[in-house]
Each structure stands twice: as C-alpha cells, then as structure tokens.
C-alpha cells in the first residue's frame, strides 16, 4: 500500500477578496522509499501541496491518506501529534532554535515524542553522524553554515522516525556546493536506509537527482515522470 494517497484534491484560498485556486484535481500516490521532487514555476502550488501532505493545511475538496490515516479525520492536538510521530519536516529556513546546540535541536523532537533522555542523546549523536556533522553536536546554529544547518534539520527529521520527510525548497538558500552536498546526504539516506523524501525545488541540478519528478503548473499536475 502506498504511504501517501491524494484523492481529487483542490485547494482554493479565498481568505482575500480574490479567490486563488492553488491546486485543482490532484490525484497522486507515493510509495515507501521514493525520492520525489515536486517542481514547477513560482506560484504553481508546490508549497501548497507539501503543506497538505504534511497536515499543516487542509484541502478544500478531496482527501489525503498518510499511512492508514485519513488526515481530514484528525483535528487539533491529534493532528499535531500525528505530525510529530509520522512526518518529518525540513523547511527552507528557520528550522533550528538558536539557543539550542545542534545536538539539542535534534533531541528536542524526541523529547516531544517522549523518548528517554539517555536514548535521545545517543540517537541525536547517531543522526548527526549520518548527516556528516559528528563533531558539531555542541555547536549552536549561529556557528554553522547554512548547509550544515539544513543537515541538522534533516538529522532532526530522521530522529523522529517518520514515515516520510517533506522538504520545501531545502536548498533555496544554499550555494551550489552546499546544495549538492545536502542532496547527496539525502540520496544516501534514501538508498541505504530507505528513507522516503518528498521535496520541492526550483533548481535543475537538484531536480536531476530525483528519481521521480512531479511537475506542477497552475495547480495541476502537468507531468509525473520517473527518471
């Protein structure tokens, strides 16, 4: 069974005077272990789609299943808790808490999940090793480069043992080399540990690394190709 199933989803923003149809009639399944890029021009609905998949927003029409749960059936704190235990997030920026060290940022999410302090520490250290930051456990985010900060965010997402990780333009603020490096790490985790990644991007080189590319235009899926 696919871990994500999107059925007939529309998203219409009408909180301002003009109605904006951000997504229309999206149907989509994502299998465990995918390494999928969502691409498309600015305003095509990439962020909107990722927000819907992550349970940060709800569709105007249609429904979304994550694992064996239909997201529209979850409300309030149940939904927050579902995100905590099932979905990993990497944002474009503001991922980390500046007063916590890299290690503590990774530990925080496990603490929210109720993992014991001893296990937390160990897992956080392991995750930082996986993203190549073994020696930066005690560094505050301000002491890390943009690319390193994004890698800490990936480590944090991993530490929560989610069903999949959503990353909205994770490389948008990075230089080419750091972006390349981040993608390599994500790809490695995907290949060797089966971590499912769904990320959006503008960047052609990032796109090229994806095994599946979903192209959005004006809120519709224009193409969906495996490469």
């Amino acid at each position: 069974m696919a871990i994500i199933e999107v059925v007939n989803v529309d998203k219409i923003y009408n909180d301002s005077e003009v109605k904006v149809t951000a997504l229309s009639n999206i149907n989509l399944t994502i299998e465990k272990g995918e390494f999928t890029a969502i691409v498309g021009p600015s305003g095509s609905g990439k962020t909107t789609l990722l927000n819907l998949l992550g349970g940060l927003d709800s569709p105007t029409n249609g429904k979304i299943r994550v694992g064996d749960v239909w997201l529209n059936e979850l409300k309030g704190s149940k939904l927050i808790d579902f995100r905590l235990r099932n979905i990993g997030f990497v944002f474009q920026s503001y991922n980390l808490i500046p007063v916590l060290t890299a290690g503590e940022n990774v530990e925080l999410i496990m603490q929210l999940q109720g993992v014991s302090a001893r296990v937390r520490k160990q897992v956080a250290a392991d995750m930082l090793v996986k993203v190549g930051l073994a020696d930066r456990f005690a560094s505050r985010p301000a002491k890390l480069s943009g690319g390193q900060q994004q890698r800490v965010a990936v480590a944090r997402a991993l530490a929560s043992k989610p069903q999949f990780i959503l990353a909205d333009e994770p490389t948008a603020n990075l230089d080419g080399k750091s972006a390349e490096n981040l993608l390599q790490i994500m790809e490695h985790l995907n290949r060797n540990e089966g971590v499912t990644f769904i990320f959006s991007t503008h960047d052609q080189r990032v796109m090229n690394r994806a095994r599946r590319v979903i192209l959005l235009e004006d809120g519709r899926i224009k193409s969906d190709t495996l490469q």
Partner: protein, 470 residues
C-alpha cells in the same frame, strides 16, 4: 531540556530581560522591606504595650470595668497566694487605679493614678526601667512620691529651661559666635519652651537660631524633681480628697498618649489618701512566661475566679491585636500592587519575545509541539524572568532586613508623629519565613498571569502562515 530551553530563551535578549529583572528586584525589595517594617513596628508596638501598658493578663472586679468606680475593688489576698505559685506566671502586681485631677502651681491635668508596690510592679512592667530622670517609688520620704510620664510633666509645666554654665561652655567650644551670643541667657531660668525660644530669638542671629534653637531647648530642659503635685480624687464614700505628692521620677515610653495619662504612686500612700482598705485592689496585672502560654493560663484563671473578670492582652486592647493581622495584610496589599504594576512590564517584554520568534513558534508547532507545550514554554519563560527578579529582590531584602534588624531603622526625623500614636521611632524590621514563601508564590503567580496574553498570541498563530517565505 524544556526547562533549560525556556531559561536560555529568557536570556536571548539580555538587556531587555535585565530591565525586567531589575524592576522586579527593586519593586520587591521595596515591598518586602516595607512589609518587614510594618511587621516590626506592629510587633514592637505589641511588645511595648504588653511590657509597659497592659501586661499579659489583667484581673478586675467586673463592676469596676463598667465605670471604673473607686469602690469596685476585690480582695487581693484571695488571689495573690494562688497566683504567685501558679505555673507560667512570672510577674504579679496588685494595683489601685484611681482617676485624679493633678495640679501644680502652674497647670493642671487629669491623670490615671496607679497605686503600686514598687517591687511587684517591677515584676510585670517595664516602666520602672523607662525613667529618664529620678527614680521609681523606692526610698523613704516625708511627702509621698509620684512618678510621671514626660508628657504629663510637660503638661503640668514641671519643666524649667535653664542655660547652665557648662552648656554655655560646650557651645562656645562648638561655635564661638554662638557661645558669645547666648551669654546674656546664662543662669536665667525660663518656665516654658515658647518663652525660652523667644529669649533665644532675641539674642541669636537668625541663622544660628534656626540651626540650634531646637537642640538647645532640648538640652536646657530639666524637670523639676521634687516639685509638688496635688492630686484630688474621689473616695469610695463619694467625697473629694486631696493629697500632695512630690515628683521623684519621670518616665518616657514610645507612646506619648500613655505618658500623658499614667502616673505611679506608692500603694500605701494612695490607699491612705483615697481611703481604701489596703487589702483590696482594683486591678491585678500578670506577666506570663511567654506569649504562647497566655491563652491557657487566662482560661484556667477564668474558671478558678468565677466572680472576677480575667482578660488577656488582646481582649484588653483588641485594637493592638488587630494591628498584627492588619500589618501583614497591609504589607501584602502593598506587594500585590507593586507586582500588578510590574506585570505590565513583564507582559510587554514577553510579548516582544513572542512576536520576535513568530517563525520559530510556527516551526515548532509544525514539527509537532502541541499547544500545551508551547504554552508551558512561554509560561516558564515568564516565570523564570519574574522569579529571577524576585529572587534578587528577596535576597536584597533579606540582607537589608538582617542589617536593620540589628541596628534598627531610625525614623526619628518623623518620630514625633509616630510616638504620638504609640510607635517607636526606631523600627526593627521583622518578617516571617511564611511571608517570604507567600511573596515567592505571589511573584510566581505574577509570572504566570503575565504570560497569559503573550501565550495566547503565540497559540493563535497558524504554523503554515508563520513559515511562509515572502
């Protein structure tokens, strides 16, 4: 880790947080010190009043309490034996208590005259140790003795103002010109303070007068020991009797009203003059081992002496017992008002903290931090911020109170006003551990309350909106 996260968040903007910490510390320092001063005052007032005025327990003929008539006595021998051997009673004095009109050659005034046996009175009262001049009623004199309060002595104009040679010499040594200008006054005896002042004003240049007149008047004042006072009172038979006494001592307490009213004479002299059987008394005053034993002792005495009225200090002077409760209450109100004012500053700081971290809260809520946790984090930050100030303020207060509990805090600049209502001008601040605990709880509560509004702001945010990159 959430605790340590909150703590670190408090210090993200150290300057802004320090402002709040300092404000809370100063506010509490003021509040707690005021509380301790009020408390110290009240305690002192109670102690003074037990020691000098009412003692722990008083026993009367119940009818005497109605109109304080001179014939409403009771037999002292009937109680004295039992009381002096009773457990927990450390002092016992049988008294006569008579209202008298006092007259001197210059003035007259109403007095409450207590007839006491000096040794017994010393066992219950601090007055014999409060003499500023002369001695208590000991000693054999042809004319009976009377001990007056300073205020009463002044009202009866038993004061002379005389600039003696020795004072004049001291003044010359201090300031030559002053010494020269007062020469005409040396050796003159002046009867009232106002005419002494007038005389000074006439001799001194204005600057010196303004600077020295009050102190000079104080140091030149002397009471006319052995001055005659005629007391007139009613006898049990209803006649008026007069007798002459001579002033042998002047006492002074911190309660001017008491000093103006209460006079002490020898028991036998008063019994004789007022024609009262010397085996009878109006009042028995008792001093107990400590304040805590008073209730049970009074209880026992009440049942033993059914026909007499036994009253504890807090029944004799309920207003003083009330002060004790009231003092604590006042201190608390004061602290609550201070904290209420401080709360606005805390809210403001917390609000800035929250607004600056809008995206961060959005991120935390997105990855799975629930509302309760977001709320507790903000609340803990607010409590930490407030409590840091609170702890600093309380530590300051403890040090301050410790110091002044030894030396006393001198209000003598305003002392006249305080003493008129029975309070000493030197206050020893005093505060109970329970009050510190209470203050700490109040501070914490303020922190919690001040976090409500900012936390509401954070909880209302939509993580998706907060994270949107413009």
């Amino acid at each position: 880790m959430l605790l340590s996260l909150s703590w670190r968040n408090v210090w993200r903007n150290p300057t802004r947080s320090m402002v709040v910490v300092v404000a809370v510390a100063l506010g509490l320092w003021g509040g707690v010190t005021t509380m301790a001063l009020i408390n110290g005052w009240v305690k002192q007032r109670i102690a003074d009043s037990i020691q000098n005025e009412i003692s722990h327990i008083q026993i009367h003929n119940p009818e005497f309490l109605l109109n304080e008539e001179v014939d409403k006595t009771f037999n002292f021998d009937s109680v004295a034996q039992a009381l002096s051997s009773a457990d927990g009673i450390v002092g016992l004095s049988g008294r006569l208590k008579v209202f008298a009109m006092a007259q001197t050659d210059r003035a007259n005034s109403g007095l409450v005259v207590l007839g006491v046996k000096p040794n017994s009175e010393r066992s219950v009262s601090g007055i014999p140790n409060k003499l500023i001049m002369g001695s208590f009623l000991e000693g054999d004199f042809k004319t009976p003795s009377i001990v007056l309060g300073k205020k009463a002595a002044e009202e009866l104009k038993l004061v002379n103002y005389e600039l003696t040679d020795s004072i004049a010499q001291k003044l010359s040594a201090m300031e030559l010109r002053l010494g020269e200008q007062i020469q005409p006054l040396v050796g003159r005896r002046i009867r009232t303070r106002s005419s002494f002042m007038n005389a000074l004003r006439a001799e001194l240049e204005p600057a010196l007068f303004n600077h020295y007149s009050e102190t000079l008047a104080d140091s030149c004042a002397s009471f006319r020991l052995n001055g005659p006072v005629v007391l007139t009172f009613q006898t049990p038979a209803g006649e008026l009797h007069s007798a002459m006494f001579r002033v042998r001592g002047i006492y002074r307490t911190s309660n001017t009203a008491f000093d103006a009213r209460m006079a002490y004479v020898n028991f036998e002299n008063l019994a004789l003059a007022a024609n009262i059987n010397p085996n009878y008394v109006h009042e028995v005053a008792l001093l107990c081992k400590d304040n805590t034993s008073v209730v049970s002792i009074a209880q026992t005495l009440s049942t033993t002496y059914q026909n007499l009225k036994v009253r504890r200090w807090d029944e004799i002077s309920p207003e003083i017992a009330l002060y004790a409760a009231f003092g604590d209450f006042m201190g608390l109100i004061y602290i609550v008002i201070i904290l209420f004012a401080l709360a606005f500053g805390i809210i403001n700081t917390m609000m800035m903290n929250v607004l600056e971290r809008y995206r961060e809260f959005g991120m935390l809520m997105a990855i799975g931090m629930n509302r309760l946790r977001v709320y507790s984090m903000i609340m803990m930050e607010s409590v930490f911020l407030t409590l840091t100030g609170g702890v600093v303020g309380i530590v300051f207060s403890i040090v301050f109170i410790k110091i002044f509990a030894q030396t006393g805090f001198d209000f003598s600049m305003w002392a006249e006003g305080f003493e008129a209502i029975g309070y000493s001008s030197v206050v020893y601040p005093d505060i109970t551990l329970a009050n510190y605990v209470l203050v700490t709880i109040l501070v914490t509560a303020t922190g919690v309350l001040a976090s409500l509004w900012p936390a509401r702001r954070a909880l209302k945010l939509n993580p998706m909106q907060a994270l949107r990159v413009e």
